[in-house]
């Protein structure tokens, strides 16, 4: 039988506020346990939550960025469940009246195709603390620093049909929240988390199959792997006559498997009700429009502008606009370099990206700044050096040996463009290799490369390749 995969994603984005959603405790990552958990976060008797304006602004910013309806009135509700890292016995969340309503996002698939994924809603809620299960003499340790950190939970429609589509969607949301500066997107620190609802159904069937919810997907790679594993698992169950159970499954990256966490039927009974400690949030058009006016150029707009302004391919424009920092870097290079934007694109997404990746450095800390790279590209454009030598210069700049001009000077890498000098070298090479010259003249065209290689070897790659080609052709045509 042919199966169709159906995936919906829930993304939890930690909002980049200074203080918590309902208290004045700090949200800074990595503090000593429980030093950023105040009486409100601990759920002590008699405390009251007071909503953080910035968290509301950030949620609204996301809403206007995806063209969603921002609720003029939204309500906080209590989601009731018991777990030690949730001191109040309920999580303050939003149920019936979320702050952001229906919207959509266009995702980019392979081969230049795109697809619109529906976004059901996005709501504000508080994060829970952390449980540490190791090393406490059979007890569990609780750190409540994270408790009360503002989260925006972004819920998609079950519109994705493959793990690749789910990853494309997650990456797009990730880029967007970073562009609009509401979340730092750090997946390793848990600032951006994905849960995937996965089910399968026979191709052509309308009704959805029973779904499993996958958790603990803290990288895009794990998201893809876990979904593929889960799809296989469900198909195996159904094809061998079994039934898929609705449950939460945890992805274990070390073993590359998913395993059942808890049966959701009972846990699902959260008995939501409006939180009497909080009043409805009412937002007027003025407030929403003010926030709309602060939106930066969004990834899709930027990509289209890159394609038209810099004559880049869709693929190049997509790579360069993947993050705002990368896009800013590229534009700074183009602005400063007297060079073709396409060549700048190749360098930024090629040599530079590879070096950043190799040394695990963020683009904002790149030892080769946009100005330095621009200087290098200018020297390629004015033929001071060839593209090949430029790679050597880049590596030296990466190691902190100065700007392009300094490196070219100290290493003596200036391109030889003096045609007299090159002519002499060409002459020598042809005379010193009479056998090859003979073979070339009798039709072995491939040997041309051999001569170019010899000249380049003599000049350590510094001869202008175009001139070498021309002069060699001319010289070899003579007897």
């Amino acid at each position: 039988m042919q199966w169709e995969t159906v995936i919906g994603l829930e993304v939890h984005a930690q909002l980049a506020t200074q203080s918590k959603i309902f208290s004045g405790a700090s949200t800074a990552y990595g503090a000593e346990p429980n030093t950023q958990a105040c009486n409100v976060d601990l759920g002590l008797p008699g405390v009251l939550p007071v909503l953080n304006k910035e968290a509301v602004r950030m949620a609204v910013k996301f809403g206007v960025a995806i063209g969603a309806e921002v609720a003029s009135r939204s309500v906080f509700a209590r989601k009731n469940y018991f777990y030690p890292d949730l001191p109040k016995g309920y999580q303050i969340s939003q149920m019936e009246l979320p702050i952001v309503g229906i919207g959509s996002l266009t995702i980019d698939l392979e081969a230049g195709e795109s697809k619109v994924v529906g976004i059901t809603r996005a709501h504000l809620e508080e994060d829970a603390g952390k449980s540490l299960h190791e090393d406490f003499h059979g007890m569990t340790g609780i750190d409540l620093n994270r408790a009360g950190t503002p989260l925006l939970e972004i819920v998609s429609e079950p519109d994705m049909r493959s793990a690749a589509e789910a990853v494309a969607y997650a990456k797009k949301i990730h880029a967007l929240v970073r562009y609009i500066e509401i979340c730092d997107g750090n997946m390793a620190e848990g600032s951006f988390r994905c849960d995937a609802n996965v089910s399968v159904r026979p191709k052509g069937q309308e009704a959805l199959g029973t779904r499993a919810e996958l958790k603990n997907l803290n990288s895009f790679r794990f998201l893809e792997k876990a979904i593929n594993l889960e799809v296989e698992r469900q198909i195996d169950i159904i094809e061998s006559g079994g039934r898929v159970v609705q449950e939460t499954r945890l992805y274990d990256a070390d073993r590359n498997e998913t395993r059942s966490m808890r049966s959701k039927e009972e846990a699902n009974d959260y008995r939501y009700f409006p939180d009497p400690d909080l009043l409805p949030v009412e937002l007027d058009e003025v407030f929403i429009n003010e926030i709309r006016a602060t939106l930066p150029e969004l990834p899709d707009e930027k990509r289209q502008r890159f394609e038209s302004d810099y004559a880049l391919s869709q693929q190049d424009a997509m790579v360069l606009t993947a993050s705002r920092e990368l896009a800013d870097y590229y534009e700074a290079v183009v602005a400063a370099a007297k060079s073709d934007p396409k060549i700048a694109a190749n360098w930024v997404s090629g040599e530079l990206a590879a070096a950043l990746n190799r040394d695990a450095i963020d683009i904002t800390n790149s030892p080769v700044t946009a100005e330095l790279l621009a200087g290098l590209l200018t020297r390629i454009a004015d033929q001071t050096i060839s593209g090949k030598i430029a790679k050597q210069v880049f590596e030296a700049m990466w190691q902190g040996e100065g700007d392009a001009d300094a490196v070219i000077e100290t290493k003596g890498l200036k391109q030889i463009t003096d045609s007299g000098a090159i002519e002499k070298l060409v002459d020598d090479v042809v005379i010193n290799n009479p056998k090859q010259a003979e073979q070339y003249r009798s039709g072995k065209d491939k040997l041309f490369g051999f001569f170019v290689g010899q000249v380049m070897k003599e000049t350590k790659g510094k001869a202008n390749p175009q001139q070498v080609n021309e002069l060699l052709k001319k010289r070899l045509a003579q007897d």
Binding site: K53, G141, P280
Partner: protein, 95 residues
């Protein structure tokens, strides 16, 4: 609508309330009475009435995003049954 013992048991479990068997009868009756009252209210035509989220007709005040709390871990942990390395210790939770 009336609740049977199984319903009461389930609700008690969800709320982590420990009920003795002999309490079941009377609690089931009390809860059923409340539900009956709600059922009675449900017969009222409420079309066009906006559901009330809070009894006060007021709007949530928003606070500015500033860190105003300082570390009071020592104070809070002085009343905790057990702590270690700055963590609150609780009976082992296994998923």
């Amino acid at each position: 609508m009336s609740l049977d013992h199984a319903d009461v048991k389930k609700i008690a479990h969800l709320a982590r309330v420990d009920l003795a068997d002999e309490q079941m009868e009377s609690i089931a009756k009390d809860l059923s009475n409340i539900l009956n009252l709600v059922e009675q209210m449900s017969t009222v035509d409420t079309a066009g009435v906006e559901p009330m989220a809070h009894p006060l007709h007021m709007v949530q005040r928003l606070r500015s995003d500033e860190v105003t709390e300082t570390d009071a871990r020592e104070l809070f942990q002085s009343i905790a049954p057990q702590t270690d390395a700055g963590l609150y210790l609780v009976p082992k939770v296994i998923e």
